[in-house]
Symmetry: C2
Subunit: 333 residues, 2 copies
Amino acid sequence: MKKFINTPDTVVADALRGMAVAYPQLSIDVEKRLVVRGDAPVAGKVGILSGGGAGHEPLHAGYVGFGMLDAACPGEIFTSPPPLQVLEATRRINAGAGVLHIVKNYTGDVLNFEMAADMARAEGIEVAAILVTDDVAVSDSLYTAGRRGVGATVLVEKICGAAAERRWPLDKVAALGNRVIRNARSMGIALTSCTVPAAGRPTFAIGEDEIEVGIGMHGEPGRYRQGIAPASELARILLDTILDDMPLAAGEPVLVFVNGMGATPLMELYIMLEELSKLISARGLVLDRTFTGSYMTALDMAGCSVTLLHLDEEMREFWDAPVSTPGLTKGTV
Amino acid sequence: MKKFINTPDTVVADALRGMAVAYPQLSIDVEKRLVVRGDAPVAGKVGILSGGGAGHEPLHAGYVGFGMLDAACPGEIFTSPPPLQVLEATRRINAGAGVLHIVKNYTGDVLNFEMAADMARAEGIEVAAILVTDDVAVSDSLYTAGRRGVGATVLVEKICGAAAERRWPLDKVAALGNRVIRNARSMGIALTSCTVPAAGRPTFAIGEDEIEVGIGMHGEPGRYRQGIAPASELARILLDTILDDMPLAAGEPVLVFVNGMGATPLMELYIMLEELSKLISARGLVLDRTFTGSYMTALDMAGCSVTLLHLDEEMREFWDAPVSTPGLTKGTV
């Protein structure tokens, strides 16, 4: 294993120390594994919290800041954060307007966030939780009952973050988040495995010309394997699978998110976007917004995922709203 | 070779088509391989142009926009753009205040940009050129006479771009760029090779536990090979090599740029930043600004480079100035 690390045991703490050097505007508690907006709690604002196993950077810690998350609580690599860590993050961002937990559907995350929410409520903090379940690849997996939460998480964090910044109340922010989740689907392809530092070797073996279709973001199995194919064909497989699950009428506006899994060059993501764009037009859909980059990764995995979000006016408005975080910045804050 | 491409021949054109879908605010001419600000030429402003072989994305095309480049002219992968392409880009961004060519020191780039500059001058366009030569690893290489231009290129583009946005005249922008170049040094380490699509196999072979110190950004050889070592030790090697070449007195302010080569997870870059930060403090230097991410890549190479810039007031001011491009956005435009 070749990585820029000191020891596998200290990877998350060392990376958080580096983030603290890079982003002094964030309040980073390395011991408690909390990444919090420096100005939290923000008066009158619903606090937006997400978290989960580390190894998916910039998700989630990189999305803490104006217009997105108030805090993130990273666990160990690919490991859920314990309930007390989630509770502490919830406390730190509660300004009295309540806290939204954005939870990816992995068994550990679901249990730990639920326990933390119960404890926070016992302290008088209003908590709502939404469960991201956008991965159409598999019904259940090594890590989940039900569909996994993948790329749509970034869209949910952005859109709910913008609504909270606009001082929407907790129930409305949660309802908006659930609407995004209902209208988003994702599907991914892995070209290579990732290597978890503590394991020291690739999570799975895959042939020189073989790809895994429907991959998860921890290297868990997808739907099937096949040979490598042209980008045009891979784009078709991903889009067809998504639209089979979420049929859309001609003329409907969509946001397409082409996400790199960590080791895939930006050029290749643009090539996928171009192919998807042609297919989306051929279906009569309106490619209303695009989002391309490595925003939710699986360590050093080569691969990509595609997320399609069926947009409405409110989602579009909040997607376009200003945001200022280490991992995503746009517009005038 | 497993990549999200259609055919090796169409990689650059397909990726530019994807960029055009993603960034309608840019004017992208796929046939002529030009990426130009939609509002170019900008009245009264020096035009800032860079270019070179593709495969280093987001460099350069991703830095076209307010506060950075007016245009980029990508060649084929790791191949210089021909003079007529550079000339056409120069024409399109000349608003009468002249054009600055930011050229990385590779033999093909230098020749082609010089020819283009001569042709542009013959048409009455004022052109100044600056040569980026920040790589301390080697004196000459497969691709260069003299030092290669690497990470400092991004800093030069940002700082000169901001000065041009402030309507500085051409000679002053060029002088500022040369000052940045004189005060910047870089050094990199590769963990793996990259794979050029047209070649179809890794550029070089490297052992399972072996790293290449002083690597170039095309997979050309560096200084030596050694075994993998902890991040703290690798950071020390990179920083020592840089500071041996550019000794700085205690108390001097520096910007440190930790750059991923394409396949290196963000977590590992933060770990390197943390180690560099400790070493920089131990040397008595002031870590004044940091910049961390995969901003100048070598396709799918795993590795990182470190660039140290000895800051002065003007450089800091222009570094902090607003910028809005696909690859780098900050501040209020």
